[in-house]
Amino acid sequence: MWKWLHPYAKTERLYQLSSTLLPWFSIAALLLLISGCVWGLMFAPADYQQGDAARIMYIHVPSAILSMSTYAAMAIAALIGIVWQIRTADMAVAAIAPTGAMVTFVALFTGAAWGKPMWGTWWVWDARLTSELILLFMYLGVIALYNAFEDKQQAGRAAGILALVGVINLPIIHYSVEWWNTLHQGASITKLSKPSIDPAMLWPLLINLLGFACLIASLSLAALKNEIIRREKHRPWVQQLVSDI
């Protein structure tokens, strides 16, 4: 059933696949982000309560949602790397972690910038904000652990276990606003009932969500290509590749 995935355990095939996919994701990310941001920041209506300040959600909401999805993707790669001992999966963990850390930082930063005018504070130690900060530290921990080992096979296993343990944080982030009293409001989109955002504001938000997803995919693919080259630099196919340039 999973036979079609097996070739990508080979670094050379994965490198070729990444090179093929990268331009498509980059172009899609560029187009979606430009249209989503222009629509959201200039043409979508302002919020009835928060006015124009609510427009920061077109950056904040996609980055916050995808910081968690990116972590889930990294954890799946870590699981494959540990259980099936596939080296390319470990490389994927190392490639996704910095991208995820960046997205999490964007979510925290835009959240703080939104919190100051609306709530009246940059930061408050409520459950949602704290658990999102822990997510950033999990990403940084995975990056640090992976780079701490000289032997990359050990590095992949150690970072992978840390990445998998951090999965516990994901449901905590999502349900923090329901389990505890928080200053952060409840979920607007990621819930089973109808989104509580007006369609005129929801559409640019969804476009930006897709655009951010493509951006994360293309950044991770570029990082994956680098990681493959870095770890396979003594292989004949890499040296062939270099001499071709």
Partner: protein, 155 residues
């Protein structure tokens, strides 16, 4: 799946289950401390059998009771009542209120409990809900007329 992979998968699930249980128990034990604020009924009736004592520093979160905001004409002193479902708690504050502060709005205040139902706050934060809509829709759905600050008359 070959036995070695099965063993690794099993060991990994065991580690994660144990840590998930540990984190779960920890969060359960810390449950009342993770809540950002007390609600007005928790201040008056107690939470898990414990009533906050006067002199205690705490956070309170609730809705500003419509018609309860009293501003001092010459200073920045303001007092208002907060409620959640029934009981009301008075909050006294000196300073600038956040832009979103208005009657009927959810807010979180930090301060010291003076008596059973009076809090002297040193910080007031506004809380907003997860609903976003253009002003025209809000007017139609909720009957809220939003007026831009520059068009609003002076109080």
């Amino acid at each position: 799946m070959n036995p070695r992979r099965k063993k690794r998968l099993f060991a990994l699930s065991a580690i994660i289950t144990i840590i998930a249980m540990a984190v779960g128990l920890m969060l359960y034990a810390l449950n009342q401390n993770i809540d950002l604020f007390y609600t007005p009924s928790e201040i008056l009736k107690g939470k898990n059998g414990q009533k906050p004592q006067p002199g205690q520093r705490l956070k309170i979160g609730g809705m500003v009771v419509v018609g309860s905001v009293q501003r001092h004409p010459e200073t920045l002193d303001v007092s208002f009542k907060l409620t959640d479902t029934g009981p009301e708690v008075t909050v006294q504050y000196h300073g600038l209120l956040p832009d979103l502060f208005r009657e009927g709005q959810g807010i979180v205040a930090t301060g010291v409990l003076q008596s059973a139902s009076v809090i002297k706050a040193d910080e007031v934060l506004a809380k907003h809900d997860e609903e976003y809509m253009p002003p025209e829709v809000a007017e139609a759905v909720k009957g809220i007329k939003h007026v831009k600050p520059e068009q609003a008359g002076a109080y």
